[in-house]
Symmetry: C2
Subunit: 277 residues, 2 copies
């Protein structure tokens, strides 16, 4: 479910981007269980005075994503509501589905791509304070060079869900990072009744995030560990298996520890996004 | 999708009733296509300060309905939002599914039960202006005798979806009445590229609706033709088939006409509930 002013802000999100992201976010959940997405149902609540152009662009974004993931929209429901509310249900199928439960002490922990880009992109958008029409290649001017800002902003506005196909036979547990690495790793560990240690110097951090972090005065690790909406897959596999993804740590018996270069525990002051705290 | 202050008003709806109705409304859509409901997914948006008791009662109502329809809740999503938003997706399966498309001129038109009770119940609730805890058998005092008001109020607050099993092999088209007989009949006729005539004196109107209509000073036909949320099934079948439901008219080539006792066309000033007008 995506609720206006909770999950998105139309001050800096175009309806097209919103539609695209809605599909990606739901496909990511199917991928995170090792499934292939097949059908989508959409429940849309929209204000009575929402204009037709906005409505059409929202559906253009949805259609673009449906094509991207080879999904079919097969039904849904339309309702009036004060704020825009989007609730999609994506169905999928899996030969062998992967849950959060199967991680064992000694397994390696992997992620499919750079962490923190999306949440850093959001911080930039809060400064830019207007829509960045990346789908039309518009360029907003601000303090950071655009070639650094664009990939971050894009990762936030129009994330692509990660297809786990190439390592699906090897993964022992999996989750997608939607509320931040720490929170989602904790969920996976809790379900697997295990712990984890993460080597912070192995976290994949993009050059763009490093540049933007300096510009914003916020350490990259804050975004990489605590920032939400990465939509990268976080998964575990036995140490013996060769995996084409970034190894960031390993599963332990209990406790979650983030270690610095010298193996010392890092104390955390950030916890990702939580709805009801 | 059910949105607070659009689909329900917590001034006269208990969380238990809301949960029950959410499931019924979605099961009704499965029944309306001749399906058997199997699984439910629930996306819930709720205010950060919603109290735990209210939350629990909402889920008690959902559970009660899940048991009623032999459904399993298999997943979903939880989010914060300013107002309560409930978006359920129910899956089902059908050997032969029935759409709105198959009605042919000459087919008879049937409904599964009394019309207008729900919308009349809503009018009563707007006068009562506080929750009627029918599930606890509470009795609110007001101008109309309670044994007349209760079935109407109950049909609005906790509707039971109608199972089409007994006539499913004979129906040529079907829809559930959620936005009022006229609107939903028009939808069915549009999809079937046909028209309809309805004999207003054959519309099943409950004694309770007659009593309450007099009390409210609103003719019963206003509720029966234009009132929403009946959740009765409206379906067509060939004239040759014996059907255990109330015949209210027949399919014609074009136009939708409501006829009085003497066969004269009734002009309509009410159109049921529409979200975007």
């Amino acid at each position: 479910m995506m609720v206006e002013n909770v999950h998105f802000d139309l001050r800096w999100t175009t309806p097209f981007q919103l539609g695209f992201k809605l599909v990606s976010v739901n496909v990511s959940d199917i991928y995170a269980m090792g499934g292939r997405p097949s059908f989508m149902l959409l429940n849309l609540g929209a204000p009575v005075n929402m204009n037709v152009k906005c409505f059409n662009r929202l559906f253009d974004g949805i259609e673009e994503a449906l094509r991207t993931y080879k999904l079919s929209l097969i039904g849904g429901d339309l309702s009036s509501s004060k704020k825009i509310v989007l609730s999609a249900t994506v169905t999928g199928h899996a030969k062998k589905f992967i849950t959060r439960k199967g991680a064992k002490a000694g397994d390696r922990i992997y992620v499919t791509g750079c962490l923190g880009d999306s949440s850093c992109g959001l911080e930039l958008l809060k400064k830019i304070k207007k829509p960045v029409e990346i789908e039309k290649r518009s360029k907003n001017k601000h303090g950071l060079k655009w070639n650094f800002a664009l990939p971050l902003v894009k990762r936030h506005l129009m994330p692509l869900a990660r297809d786990p196909e190439k390592f699906i036979g090897k993964a022992t547990s999996m989750i997608d990072i939607s509320d931040g690495l720490i929170i989602d790793l904790s969920r996976l560990c809790k379900e697997s009744r295990a712990g984890a240690k993460i080597y912070s110097d192995r976290l994949p951090i993009s050059d763009e995030l490093r540049e933007a972090s300096e510009y914003l005065g916020i350490p990259p690790l804050v975004f990489a560990l605590g920032g939400g909406e990465d939509y990268e897959l976080l998964f575990t596999a036995p140490a013996s298996r060769k995996i084409d993804a970034v190894c960031i740590g390993e599963i332990t018996r209990s406790g979650i520890n983030i270690l610095d270069k010298k193996g010392r525990k890092i104390k955390l002051g950030m916890k990702g996004y939580q709805h009801f705290v």
